[in-house]
Symmetry: C2
Subunit: 455 residues, 2 copies
């Protein structure tokens, strides 16, 4: 059950390869061709779901019946899919690593039909999760040391997208999520307090706060802006005293001028001796708003970041491609305007001391002091175990360490939230030579092919 999670053209091409004995092996390279505006780097994510998809890839009877009865494919082609599984090899950049334009995030080598059939899902999963992790990473950069909480569940693109967002934001250092199912699924810290509707369900704010604090007396966070924000802070202080709440309380500001309200709330809380009370801000936040709040010196301890992070609002997709780079022994490339590809299976070499990466051929030896970014993660359709010093390539905790590691080495101009600089990887001499060879052969053939019609 997953074989139909693909574009119909993948099925038609795969059927044609199988019928013609075009078994490849083919290597496809998944790259982000260019970074969106206001992105200095991307953060690799989605590998765990991608590998799970590949492991489970098959066609069940209902799917085969659909293909037959809908006449989407000829009967012999449907028959050929019955026993098809993904039996290929995968190299990938472990989750959490920073990546740049043109660097392969993942490379598949498999019989042509298999490699083709999984294109749609691999592109979908890796593009989405990398876009979100990259956006969330910018919130982390903006927040300085403040905590970040994923509040995006209600406005992601469907319920499953929310799971991916919670996980991607955890990879780049979000402290918690509001998403309960994601908490269970990935072992993330889950937090949550009250909404405006809770306050409105009581005759007045004071009775709502008292009820909530009675039911949840530790780490109670009061949502204070239902009627009047600073009035709400005062009520929260009263209730905290009245109920003699022991742990530090929090107040959440969800609307209005957050910088000004945070300062005023801090004064009220401190004046009443609640110096350990935390101020949480939320409401339409993203890395730009957070950077502005931090820049203004607003005394905010934690940010709830929702929709704009959860859909990567200013760059909701990436310019990703899954391109054939070798077929059999033959390196290939295409020449479509703006979409010219680099031939051959690749590797990315990263220098220990910073500086731009080198994109080369997988068969090349790493330049001195450089490590290999792509690691083998699947062989003959089987997931491989640990791949680097942090742990499995698709584990959240390991990914978080990798991200922290890359973040620590990121040059300042690339860390900027506004107008960051974007390191451009260089191409190794060996890859450049291969590219010129393949290009020359293609141009010769193109000239020859034109003759029959134009002549």
């Amino acid at each position: 059950m997953s074989g139909l999670y693909t574009d119909l053209y993948e099925l038609r091409m795969a059927a044609s390869y199988l019928r013609r004995g075009l078994v490849g092996p083919a290597t496809f390279s998944l790259v982000i061709r260019a970074l969106p505006p206001e992105r200095g780097f991307l953060v690799a994510a989605g590998l765990a779901d991608a590998l799970t998809f590949l492991e489970r890839f098959d066609f069940d009877d209902a799917e085969l019946d659909y293909l037959r009865t809908s006449r989407s494919l000829p009967d012999d082609a449907v028959q050929a899919l019955r026993d098809l599984r993904f039996t290929g090899d995968v190299w990938a950049v472990p989750e959490g690593r920073m990546v740049f334009a043109g660097e392969p995030l993942l490379e598949v080598t498999a019989p042509a039909a298999e490699a083709q059939l999984v294109e749609t899902a691999l592109l979908n999963i890796v593009t989405h999760q990398t876009a979100i992790a990259s956006k969330a990473a910018r919130c982390r950069l903006a927040a300085g040391g403040a905590d970040l909480v994923d509040f995006s569940f209600r406005r992601t693109h469907g319920l499953e997208a929310a799971m991916a967002v919670a996980r991607a934001s955890a990879i780049v250092g979000f402290a918690a999520t509001s998403n309960t199912e994601a908490g269970r699924r990935y072992g993330l810290r889950v937090t949550g307090t009250m909404a405006h509707s809770y306050v409105e369900s009581f005759p007045d704010e004071r009775s709502a706060f008292a009820a909530f604090a009675t039911d949840y007396p530790t780490d109670t966070v009061f949502l204070v802006d239902t009627y009047d924000t600073l009035g709400g802070v005062r009520t929260a202080i009263d209730v905290t005293r009245q109920l003699r709440l022991s742990g530090p309380i929090g107040v959440r500001l969800d609307s209005g001028d957050l910088a000004r309200l945070a300062v005023a709330a801090r004064q009220l809380l401190d004046r009443e001796g609640l110096t350990d009370a935390r101020i949480v801000a939320s409401g339409g936040l993203d890395e730009y708003a957070i950077a502005d709040l931090v820049g203004s010196g607003a005394p905010i301890d934690a940010y709830g970041v929702g929709t704009r992070m959860g859909v990567s609002a200013d760059a909701p997709y990436l310019d990703s491609a899954y391109k054939l780079v070798t077929f059999g022994d033959r390196p290939v490339m295409k020449l479509s305007p703006g979409k010219v590809t680099l031939p051959g299976a690749k590797q990315v070499f990263r220098g220990a001391g910073g500086g731009a990466d080198v994109i080369g051929l997988r068969t090349e030896v790493a330049p001195p002091g450089h490590t290999l970014l792509l690691r083998p993660v699947m062989a003959v359709g089987q997931r491989l175990a640990t791949t680097d010093e942090y742990g499995p390539a698709d584990d959240v905790a390991a990914a978080r360490h990798r991200f922290d590691d890359d973040l620590a080495r990121l040059p300042e101009p690339t860390r900027r939230v506004y107008d960051p600089s974007t390191p451009e990887p260089t191409i190794s001499p060996a890859l450049q030579r291969l590219r010129e060879d393949v290009l020359g052969a293609l141009l010769d053939r193109r000239a020859a092919e034109r003759l029959p019609v134009s002549g």
Copy 2:
């Protein structure tokens, strides 16, 4: 299995309501507060998935165990969730109808805990699918009579998002999708031909085209831009003749100056007598690019629309809210800056002859010549059958008729792709009076509440 598809605060609030016997009933109203830039209207979508979610809402043992062992909720609260189901009533705008800012798309009346617990999922589903249907509808407006095909699967936010996108685009009149699973799930027409990788898998373009047309001899569409677009068109013509293909062929242009290439391709095809050949354009298209191509007179018969539609790139979320409007017998509203709500269960009245809608109370009688936009779709947790003259409120074919019907009546300034005008619904006198009454009472209470701290 679905109870954890919610923000933790919903669970905490629900547990508190249950413990305190706050059974409501509560009515929540799901509205889009304001339209994004460049939107003259929205198209209601997501109801089918929303109702399925409500029907299946429950907590299985594993979910209850997680809540207990993670200490997310006290034990008595976990116990109280064990037998909880959604037993409420739902009124909603049927899918496919155009809606405007401030109009409820859906209203839930249920015991407070139930109504609260389903907030996250309902907002998520309806916001996402309405955003996509609205974006796709603009592609329909731009395309004139040309066919539209959903090509978005590879870059939606996850695999499940792609299903919702295929369905939403079908509602607004897309002719087909490339998404095979969506085709099966929703009975949509699925189309697909070849990718660049297919062409590159053969020694040359000519042998690739010949192989594909041999395997798929009817309605063959050749992707012509792998090496050189017009060279590809000539090769497609040669192969069509050589194989004596009977049905009309097509050529797909996927890069470069599509307007110029379409004119040149049309000339080549016509000159060779292939006047029934179709020209398909794709590659980074959205309603703006389509409008420009149509405006330039480019002879394009069909548009493949992918990523930008599938993520609603210029407006990837909507300013949606799920707000408490009555609790028990008491109408409620909140005063948070920029988020003031209208109290009471509502109805939207639409005039037969066009003109702005009227938002009123559900108990009001429709003004003469107006019909009711919100229909009962669920009662006591049970889905209801047909609700209007087109069929079930959550059926794709019925939704498509509703959309066509609303589209036919849409005034020209609202149909524009660039800078459309946006009709603003008016508020009925009865709803205005209720709002003033509730507001007055709230302001009085706020003044009274301030005294203890400030005095």
